[in-house]
Structures are given as C-alpha cells and as structure tokens.
C-alpha cells in the first residue's frame, strides 16, 4: 500500500457537512448481545416507513477517493439503533471495491468463495440460471460489459422531495476524481401490492436477537449477521485480521480465531442484489389462457402460481377465496395444516417453494422439517421499480410493461447455503419436492414455454403447460454489507502499522 494514501480521509472536510461521524471508541472486548448501533438498518427492516428509495452504484478508481467517500458518508449511515428519521442510507461494497479501498489480499481471501468470485462467474451464472437472454453479458448493470459497481448505496426517504434532497447530499460527498456514479436505480413508491397485483414480502424469518427475543423457532442470528453462531452453532467464515492491524481497536475481537484477531465481518453480512424485469402482461395472459382451459377464475390461477391470494391470504388456510377481511396469516404450515398434497397451495407455487416451511424431508409436518427449512432463509428487502434507466434493452417503451420490475435485495450470511440454494434447489429445480419438469412459475429459470405447472385438484389435477418466462434478469451483484465499525475501519484506510504480517 502506498503510505500516502493513509492521509486520504482528511481530504473530506466533514465539519462543513453537518455532524461528523463520531469515531467509535474501542470495541467492547466481550458482550453477547447485538450492538444495534453497529448493524446497518437494512438488516433490521426494509424501511417500510420510508416509501421512496433510490439505489446508486459507484465505481472506485482511486482508493483514497473511495475512502474519502466512505468517511464522508459515515455520518449519514443508518444503523439499526438509529432507524427512525425521515431518511436512511446504507452502504454495501463489492469484492473488488474492497480491494480498491485498500483491504489487504489476506483479508479479501477470507470472504466466501461466492462473494470473492462474484455473481457473474460462468459456473455461477449457469447455477443461478442466468443464461441466454438472462446472461450477465445482456444485463443493464452488474454484467461484464457494464461499469463495475464497487459501492452500492441504498437511499431511502419519507417523500419524493426528501429523497431528492437526500440524494443531492449524498452525491455532494462523491469526490470529483477517483469515484464515479455509474448506475442509478430509481424505485417506485412503496405500495401494498407488487406489479402483479399481489401483496409481497409477507413471510420473513424472525431472527433471534434482531426481532425476536430468542423464542423457539427464531432463526439463529448467525444466519443473517457474521460473527455470531449460525443454525449449526458455528460462526460462518469471514475476514479476521491480526489484532495488530487494528491499533485503534475499532473492530471487535474474534472469539473463534486461534491467534489474537479482530473481526471485520462482525455485524456485517452479504447483500444480494438482482434486478428482474417483469412481464406483467404475459403473466396475466397466461393466467387468463389457463383460466379458460381449466374453468377456474383467472385470479385463482394466478394466485395458485404465486402461492398466495392477492391480499396475501394463504391458499392453505383459505383455498377457495381471497379473504381480505382478516389479517394475513403467516403462522401456517403446509403439512400440519392439511395441505400436504397442495390442493390449497400447489407444491410448485412460488411462495411454497421459496419457503417450503414443513413440506420437505425429514418427516414433512415435523419440527425437524422446519428446522432444516430454516437453514435456507433470506431477509428480503427489495423494492419495485417502474423504469430502469440504464436498460438499453427494455423495448421501445410503447408496451404497457416496458421497464417494470423488481430490484430484489436480500440479506444472508451464507450465500451458498441461503440465496444460491433457494434460487437453484428450490426455485429453478424442475424436480423440487418430487415434481417433474416444474420450475418455479414466476422466479424459476427454464427454457421459454417449456415448464409445466401442476395444479393439484381432486380427483384429477390440472396442468398448466408451456410456461413462459415472466421474469428477465437485468442486473445484479453480490455485496458485503459491513457493520458500522467495519465501515469506519475501511474508511480510515491502510496505515503503516496495519499491514498484515
């Protein structure tokens, strides 16, 4: 590392821009609870009270400038403890971005292989189903032909005006040289329903120590935050640095390291970003076509594919009609509540395969089944969008649908066992839960017009054939969402006494 870079953060005159980030004192040497001030807010909530959002992708060409940016952003970063204003900002970093910011190779190598390699390595693209017209080479952002996104900024605000002010304030912190905003992803105002007309984001895991108080059935904290015991009672691998690399004791000590080490991962996690263009017309055309063939109402056919009624009502609890009068039930289970065969909610339905609850081995219907299921959970934090300005390939804008879609965001500590497993083994897999030729009807990768959607019925099932692809992958990336202390650490940059031995 060039020693001159260590002075970089001082280039930003924080005093001139409002409250300076209080440099955190030495990290406590022990303590079992989560330090909420150290966890970025997006882990704890999707900022439902802030309906406006925009995501900015930045490329860092100069490490010092990148660190200056981080230092400038720090006072604005929203932690879980400070999640109450009319604005919020969270910061996520790509693997190459971390390298640009000066993180030593030894630390970079300790991140998970999925994050290190990135979402667009060829084998990973094949695994996720990002092939053909979904391939990264066709993407609007995050692909090999797009500008690299080293820093992903998530900005939220209570109103449109507020978001504009917020965005301007953040943009003013971007150094003129060495950092460039390369992607702007506006979002639609947060609504009750998604573009397909369905309530979304209903089933989220309750995480011990974040939302729940450690009740039975809560998912282990280490599934969503690095540095804590996960569902197997061990700490997921993450970058640990020699204690000497952190003279200011910004970071927490790592309890599970052989030699005295500090934990760069603690209170951080991985953020998955995927942009899906959604062909709403094709979805409803398909629902109407098969409504005519099956004699079922189109809304019911659509609900069967989604796995819930438009209001969010469970098909298992209310198989025949949407029940808008009652609050959405999310405590149900498929087998325990008598829907083993999928006569209410089809086994192939999107919601059922994204979270099969007690549907799978071992012993469907048992607590053991739920425990295994809960090793593959995601905290979903996505937002809808109406336009994707960076997309050159969204059609000519005349069709009703041009450009609509979802910026899917999710948080998990183990990309391979959580996000990638769900996408591959539950959504894409045509043989999910013993099915044949049946990928997820909404989010599954399959050749166009090739999938089958079995709709169980007595005494003879329906089958919806020639399943089109309603979703097209338009961008994405894997990011590290550091804890606040880790952000401070990264912003303060490498110094002479911080080199790894």
């Amino acid at each position: 590392m060039a020693p001159t870079r260590s002075a970089a953060p001082h280039r930003v005159d924080r005093g001139a821009r409002g409250p300076a980030a209080p440099a955190p004192g030495p990290a406590p040497r022990s303590g079992r609870g989560v330090d909420r001030a150290d966890v970025q807010g997006i882990v704890g909530s999707g900022y439902g009270r802030l309906p406006e959002a925009v995501f900015l992708g930045l490329r860092v060409d100069d490490g010092a400038a990148g660190r200056a940016l981080l230092a400038g952003l720090l006072p604005l970063v929203t932690s879980m403890a400070a999640d109450h204003g009319t604005r919020a900002l969270n910061v996520a970093l790509g693997h190459r971005g971390l390298a640009r910011l000066g993180l030593p190779q030894a630390a970079l190598d300790q991140f998970s292989l999925e994050f290190t390699g990135g979402m667009t390595t060829p084998t990973r693209s094949a695994f996720l189903g990002d092939e053909g017209e979904h391939a990264p080479s066709t993407w609007a952002w995050g692909g090999p032909t797009n500008p690299r996104v080293d820093v992903l900024l998530l900005l939220y605000a209570a109103s449109d005006v507020e978001l504009r002010t917020h965005t301007e304030a953040v943009r003013r912190l971007v150094p003129a040289d060495g950092v460039e905003e390369v992607v702007t992803l506006p979002t639609a105002t947060l609504a009750q329903r998604d573009h397909l007309g369905f309530a979304d984001g209903i089933s989220q895991p309750t995480v011990a120590g974040l939302h729940g108080e450690g009740a039975d059935g809560d998912v282990a904290l280490g599934e969503f935050l690095l540095g804590y015991p996960n569902a197997y009672g061990t700490r997921t691998g993450r970058p640990l640095l020699p204690a000497a690399a952190d003279p200011g004791r910004l970071l927490f000590p790592a309890p599970d390291a052989g030699t005295p080490s500090v934990d760069l991962g603690r209170n951080g996690t991985y953020l998955v970003a995927r942009t899906f263009a959604l062909d709403v017309t094709a979805f409803w055309d398909h629902a109407h076509r098969w409504a005519a063939r099956t004699g079922l109402p189109a809304e019911q056919v659509a609900a069967k594919m989604v796995g819930r009624w438009p209001s969010g009502t469970s098909l298992t609890i209310s198989p025949d009609r949407d029940d808008q009068a009652h609050p959405v039930d999310n405590a149900f289970r498929y087998h325990r509540d008598g829907d083993a065969l999928g006569l209410g909610c089809p086994i192939a339905a999107h919601a059922r395969r994204a979270n099969p609850r007690d549907s799978l081995d071992p012993r469907p219907g048992s607590e053991a089944s739920v425990r295994v299921n809960d090793r593959h959970r995601l905290l979903r934090r996505g937002r809808q969008y109406d336009v994707l300005p960076c997309d050159q390939d969204a059609g000519d804008g005349t069709e009703a649908d041009a450009g609509r879609g979802l910026h899917f965001l999710c948080v998990n500590a183990n990309l391979s066992r959580q996000f990638e497993f769900v996408q591959h083994t539950w959504l894409n897999n045509p043989a999910f839960a013993g099915l044949q030729d049946s990928p997820d009807p909404i989010a599954g990768a399959h050749a166009p017009d090739s999938g089958v959607f079995p709709l169980p019925a007595e005494p003879v099932r329906h089958r919806l054939l020639d399943l089109p692809r309603f979703v097209r992958v338009r961008g994405g990336g894997y990011f590290f969402l550091p804890g606040v202390r880790a952000l401070h650490y990264l912003a303060s940059g490498p110094s002479a006494d911080r080199r790894t031995p």
């Binding site: 390699g117 084998t123 996960n230 081995d361 066992r417 083994t425 007595e458 005494p459």
Partner: protein
C-alpha cells in the same frame, strides 16, 4: 427385475502419460462423447472414467496417478465387462492405452482379460432401490408421460367419474398404447434364487456374530477409550479449497438432474483406524444390502448409487451419483445423516473433529464442506442413462405403475393413486 452390480476397474498410469490421459478423457467428455457408446450397453445406469492424480501418503510414499472406470449396472458384473470390451472398445482404448500393460492390439477378448485383471472389489455398494433396472426406470418414465398427456387431453371427460372408474379408464388406455402397455403388469420381482441368497446372507451374518456379542460388549468400553485418545490427536483440515480447483469441479456439475461425486483420501495411519474402517464398512455394506435398499440412505433420498473402494490399504475413494447440487447434497448429509458420514469418513485424514465416532464432525458445517471440496476429485467422463430423472421421480413413476398394474382400486386407493399424477 435384475439385481444390481458394481464394476470398479483401477489401472496405474505411468506418470509421464498423465497429460496424455487427461487429454483423452477431456475429449471423451467433450467432442468425442459418443465414442464409448455407453448408451448401447444394456442395463448400464451410470458410468464414469476418472484420472486420479498422484499423491503422497501420510507415511511418505509416493502414489502415482491412475485411471479409474466405474459402472452401476443391472445383472452380473462380468457380463458387463465383456459387453464393454466389445461395444465400448474404441472408448476404452482411448482412455486406457496409456497404461503400461494395456493390450497393444486390443480386441474384445484381450480387453476383457485386461479389465478382469484390473477389477477391484467395492468395500460397500449402495443401490437406491435394489431390483429396479434401467429398462424399468425408462419404461415407467414413458408410462408417466403417457398418462399425464392423456389426462391433459381428457380431464374434462374424467372429472365427474368416481376415482376408481378413472383408474379403469387409464388402464384401458394404457392397454391400447404399445408404449404404455408395460404399465398394466407389475414389475417382475427378483428371481427366487437371488432372494434366497439375500435372505441367507441377512440371517447368516447375525448368526455368526451373535455368539461373539458378549466379547464385543466387553470390548466396547476399551475401544471407546482408545477411540477418544485417537480423536484427541486428530488434526482436522484447516485449509479452504482452492478457488481455481472449485471452479473446475463446478464446471462439471449441475448440467442434468443429477451429479457425480467423488472424494479421495488417505486413512488416518495406524492399525486402530484401519480396523475401525473395515468394521464400519462391513456394517455399512450389510445395512445397505438388507435394510437401506428401498429409496433412502438413512433419510437421504437423492442418491442413486454410492460405493466405497480401497484404492490401496491406506487410501480410499467414495463415489456416488446424486440429485441436485453439491451444496444440497452436503446439506442433506449434515442435516439428515451426519452420524453416518462421521462413522466412515472420520477415519479419513483431515476430517472435522468427531467425538466418539458419531458426534460433531459433519455438524461443523463449514469445515465439513471445505473438507469435502478439498478431497473431491473430478469425474472426467460421466454418463447417466436417465439424465432428467431424480431418484424420487423414478420412485414415484414406479408407484404409478404399481397402481396401474392392479386391475381394480377402491375409490380411496384410486384417489391416492391419482395424486401421483
């Protein structure tokens, strides 16, 4: 309904021919896929060719590279060797011609002799469903497709009939279609002599061991203490797999419904581990032969075939064909059968630390996954007879056939049966 056999052929490869053999296998996996003509070998479920790299044993001896051929098949193994030597001759020649003693002018007879000479035994061989042959799997897949298509077409005419009557209609339809007719008769059971032999083995092993039981029980506490001492001295792997190697392995995975898996490793040194490994493999072999032979390996329903083979007294290979991704395979192992994995694999060098053979080990998720990826070997050439079918698919197709083969079902039985479609 044939019984299943395993074939394992191991041939040492002169080190100087390593690259030539690797190229030959890469061709057979790529542009020359059709050369071995595995699809012309009746009764072949899975076949693979691998190049095992050289290695250094814990005692410091150098083990040269070798070539491995394995097959999971219906019927007797020797008949497969003969068919292979004949039908797949050009493929065999391409793969094995680098081996020192491979016939210089190969013909079916000399190839067969060579294959027999290099065949090695399996220490244990798991078959998902004993007796279900390739032709049955394929016929039942066609049957299901045919019945599904008929239901797609005629659902409206059927829904108002009682379930038992729908079953009867489907049966009549199957009788008229030559492709589906096979489904109206049940799959044949294995021959009587075979069932008698299995029964004899099932009874003979406990009969022999029973008198030894007091001795075994007395010895158990001492074995446990020795085991604990060994486990305390074990040194688990700490390294993470090499990203480049993982990419190479991944490139060969997740193209069809199932994947090949292979892991090679040395046993922990010493007579105690050697004896323990033999004992555990004996138990596994007995269990998979008589108990775990109907679609589930102690709760894991995604494995078609698996085998454990001694490459040398101190080095083993585990091979399997499993459904889904390696991640889901490893998760299944950890979540459902960690104790079983521990019992056998903890005798391998570098395995995550176990307690009394069965506990911890694989439950140390990340270490276990790193260990498997580190020990994983590339299955250079791999062939499947039914690429689109998972083991659960084959099982459910067989259940469809069992139901169709019955002349009549009650309404309740027919309702359950129709839910399979």
């Amino acid at each position: 309904m044939p019984e299943q056999s395993a074939v394992t052929v191991l041939a040492p490869l002169p080190a100087e021919h390593h690259d030539r053999a690797a190229t030959a296998l890469a061709d057979l996996a790529g542009p020359d896929r059709a050369v071995p003509a595995f699809d012309r070998l009746a009764g072949l479920h899975f076949a693979r060719l691998m190049l095992l790299d050289d290695a250094v044993s814990p005692s410091g001896t150098r083990v040269g590279p070798s070539l491995l051929y394995t097959a999971d098949l219906d019927g007797p193994a020797d008949a497969h060797l003969q068919a292979l030597a004949d039908v797949s001759g050009p493929g065999l020649d391409r793969a094995f011609s680098c081996c020192t003693d491979y016939p210089t002018r190969p013909d079916p007879a000399s190839r067969t002799a060579w294959l027999r000479a290099h065949r090695i035994p399996e220490a244990a061989f798991y078959v998902n469903t004993v007796g279900r042959g390739v032709s049955q799997v394929r016929a039942e897949a066609r049957l299901r497709k045919g019945l599904e298509a008929y239901l797609d077409e005629h659902r409206d005419d059927l829904v108002d009939l009682p379930p038992a009557e729908i079953h009867a209609v489907l049966r009549r339809h199957a009788l008229t279609d030559p492709d589906l007719r096979v489904g109206v008769v049940p799959a044949r059971r294995p021959p009587l002599w075979w069932r008698a032999r299995e029964l004899a083995h099932l009874l003979a092993v406990p009969a022999v061991l029973l008198p030894l039981l007091p001795v075994i029980l007395l010895a158990l506490p001492f074995v446990a203490v020795v085991l604990l001492i060994h486990e305390l001295r074990d040194v688990p792997d700490r390294q993470r797999p090499d990203p480049v190697a993982v990419e190479r392995l991944r490139a060969g995975e997740d193209h069809v419904a199932h994947n090949p898996f292979a892991a090679v490793g040395f046993l922990k040194p010493g007579p105690f581990r050697a004896a323990l490994t033999r004992t555990v493999l004996f138990a596994i072999s007995y269990a998979v032969r008589h108990v775990l032979n109907r679609g589930s390996l102690a709760g894991v329903t995604t494995i078609h075939f698996a085998r454990w083979v001694y490459l040398s007294p101190e080095r083993m290979i585990f091979l399997s064909s499993y459904d889904g991704s390696l991640e889901s395979y490893m998760d299944d192992f950890i979540d459902k059968v960690a104790w079983g994995l521990n019992a056998i694999f903890s005798n391998g060098l570098g395995y995550p630390r176990t307690i009394l053979l069965l506990w911890r080990g694989a439950r140390d998720e990340e270490q276990f996954k790193n260990h498997l990826r580190t020990r994983q070997a590339l299955s250079h050439v791999w062939w499947s007879a039914y690429e689109d079918l998972t083991a659960l698919n084959a099982r459910s197709n067989a259940a469809i056939r069992r139901g169709l083969a019955r002349r009549t079902l009650s309404d309740d039985e027919a309702r359950d049966w129709l839910a399979l479609l």
